[in-house]
């Protein structure tokens, strides 16, 4: 029995459907991300779980209890807001202890719990500071502690790191994940940053225009995307128009060349126009293995991105991007030079 269940949840505002047919089961202790572009409905879905929005239809069940009609202050869910929402008239300790105070817990217990939380977020010395005296990262940690202090059954995070600098984002997200693992609390994390979603989650729900496009582990989502949207939203993706010659053989024809996939193709029929999708890191400029596909092309441009060198290659009418790991003795082709692309059969993704 799943811990959190969203059953046929729909939400419409006026005439527009913001969230459609969301069905999800989250296990206890799981870390699930909702990933998608702005306006895809991920935040709306989260807010429905929290109780700030009412589903137009559908149910939300937490630990076998239907909470769809319950007001937010009775759901025992911890929420971390994008803008932290720390109460400005209270210091850090008072903020963290707010949920306990409101529930009528006695002073000693509250104090103990607050100290526990301060230790968890490693801000033991800042209990007396006020929010305006803290940095963005510190405020976010306090917001997290405040949500966790009430021992919620579910933790919801709404793009908690989007207002922070890149470096802090990386360290803070790892901290959040570590705390979540330590406490074993079921968590839903909303973000538009695919790196965050992929690196933190047990499973990722990719959403687009109110619908769930795909649910799966980060590995599955990246390597086996089921739609063009998922493939192009998560990571960089090259696409080449191709004709499916024989689905059972995995035989495609693109840019005047015969290409083969590792498995038979099931999502399209022979004779159809499809898209051949390839990840940049799967392409090579020299032969490395057996039974590889090849495509000829011309180097268009070379971009040095730090640890990666990105080479843009023109193949027929399309531009493909190839990523090579940087090292000091790398030999690169000249711009304009003709090259041959090599990629294994397993690297071919066929999209409708």
């Amino acid at each position: 029995m799943a811990f959190l269940e969203l059953i046929n949840v729909q939400k419409s505002f006026a005439q527009t459907a913001a969230v459609r047919d969301v069905n999800l089961q989250v296990e206890r202790g799981e870390f699930v991300s909702f990933l998608g572009p702005s306006g895809c409905g991920k935040t709306t879905t989260l807010r429905m779980v929290a109780g700030f929005e009412h589903p137009t239809s559908g149910q939300i069940v937490i630990d076998s209890v239907d909470v769809t009609g319950k007001p937010p202050n009775q759901r025992n869910i911890g929420m971390v807001f994008q803008s932290y929402a720390l109460f400005p008239n209270m210091n850090v300790a008072q903020n963290i202890g707010f949920g306990l105070k409101v529930a009528g817990k006695d002073g000693q217990e509250t104090k103990r719990r607050v100290n526990e939380m301060l230790a968890l977020i490693k801000l033991e010395t800042l209990g007396n500071r006020y929010p305006y005296q803290l940095s963005g990262g510190q405020q976010q940690r306090v917001a997290l502690a405040r949500a966790l202090a009430i021992r919620p059954q579910l933790l919801l995070l709404d793009e908690p790191l989007s207002a922070l600098d890149a470096k802090i984002r990386v360290s803070l997200r790892n901290e959040i994940r570590a705390i979540q693992r330590q406490l074993g609390i079921t968590t839903i994390y909303v973000t538009h940053d695919q790196e965050e979603a992929l690196s933190l989650s047990d499973r990722v729900v990719v959403m687009n225009e109110g619908r769930m496009e795909q649910i799966g582990t980060p590995f599955e989502i990246y390597n086996f995307p089921q739609s063009t949207f998922v493939a192009s939203f998560v990571g960089t993706l090259n696409t080449l128009p191709a004709t499916l010659v024989d689905a059972s053989q995995g035989h495609l024809r693109a840019a005047g060349h015969d290409l083969y996939t590792a498995q038979p193709i099931t999502n399209a029929a022979s004779g159809q126009q499809v898209k051949l999708a390839l990840r940049p890191e799967q392409l090579r400029l020299s032969q490395t293995g057996e039974a590889e596909n090849t495509l000829p092309g011309t180097v268009e441009s070379i971009a040095f991105l730090g640890s990666i060198v990105r080479i843009s290659i023109r193949v027929a009418e399309s531009t493909l991007v190839l990523d090579e790991f940087n090292h000091p003795h790398l030999t690169l082709p000249a711009v304009g030079a003709p090259v041959t692309l090599y990629f294994p059969r397993a690297a071919c993704l066929v999209l409708p």
């Binding site: 109780g51 937010p72 202050n73 929402a85 400005p88 949920g99 409101v102 305006y132």
Partner: protein
């Protein structure tokens, strides 16, 4: 003019910079600072121009102390009354989710009403609550003789009622931005952590708003304290407010002692200055939280 807008401009450019503000400073000096200083100095002089503290001593007459006390009372009552009513209306407009049209009409009306002071306002209240006023006659028709039961428009109560007409709209205008500054997320976070409506207002909403509310009320106090035209038009100078007294001194009625008048004005400025200082301090605290 090739001066650059860079870090440390040369001397010539710096002179130009300060010169640019000269007209404003000259104006402020000529029409604000010097007249006030003149009054200030005058309150320490006698009719011959010699230094004296007599004027200040004379302020401690029952007549004058009564005037200050009356002014303070009227200002405090209308600040409190106008403040509470204004806050409740602003609340109804913002967080009470009043429909859009109500909000825009009330905001415009508040802008108008807070400016509708002085002579026309006095006329309006005389036409409404005077002896032959609209409401008086109405109530008489319903059997309630207003004036027989002790009410008088030309009294403390009547004056306060009239002042409230521009006090509470001013409060509404000041409270709307403050109430809107209450972030929705705070409410949601509080809900999320289990707080009820009352708990939210008691622990978060009102504490955050308090500096704004107090500051606004103090501004209302100052506003009423310095009011002259309305009081004059309504009571013809019969009510003994500090502003009326000062007006009498300027005109030369009754005790023609201009120096006493200067001292009166000086006393008034002190009270206003204290109010504004308090208001500014509270505003800054409010801004810190409502950022």
């Amino acid at each position: 003019m090739a001066s650059k807008l860079s870090v440390s401009p040369p001397l010539r450019s710096r002179v130009w910079t300060w010169l640019g503000l000269a007209p404003f400073f000259l104006f402020a000096i000529a029409l604000l600072i010097l007249p006030s200083m003149s009054l200030f100095i005058g309150s320490f002089q006698d009719s011959a121009g010699a230094f004296t503290l007599n004027n200040l001593r004379n302020l401690i007459q029952p007549n004058i102390l009564d005037a200050y006390w009356l002014s303070i009372r009227v200002s405090a009552v209308t600040a409190l009354g106008g403040g509470v009513l204004g806050f409740l209306i602003a609340y109804a407009i913002t967080l009470g989710y009043a429909p859009r049209w109500v909000r825009s009409i009330l905001t415009t009306f508040s802008g108008v009403a807070s400016n509708f002071a002085g002579v026309p306002l006095a006329f309006a209240f005389v036409s409404t609550l005077g002896r032959t006023g609209f409401v008086t006659v109405l109530l008489d028709g319903l059997g309630l003789d207003l004036y027989r039961s002790g009410f008088n428009l030309y009294s403390f109560a009547g004056l306060s009622l009239t002042y409230m007409y521009f006090q509470f709209p001013l409060m509404v205008l000041m409270m709307i931005p403050a109430l809107e500054g209450l972030k929705r997320e705070w409410r949601e976070a509080a809900d999320n952590l289990g707080a009820t409506d009352t708990q939210y207002w008691r622990l978060i909403g009102l504490p955050i708003l308090l500096p704004s509310i107090l500051g606004a009320m103090i501004l209302l106090f100052g506003n009423a304290f310095g009011a002259y035209a309305t009081a004059l038009a309504l009571t013809g100078g019969r009510i003994n407010l500090v502003t009326i007294l000062i007006g009498a001194q300027i005109r030369g009625d009754v005790l023609h002692d201009p120096n006493l008048g200067y001292a009166l004005a000086f006393g008034m400025v002190i009270i206003m200055a204290l109010s504004i200082a308090l208001y500014s301090w509270l505003q800054r605290r409010a801004e810190r939280w409502l950022r």
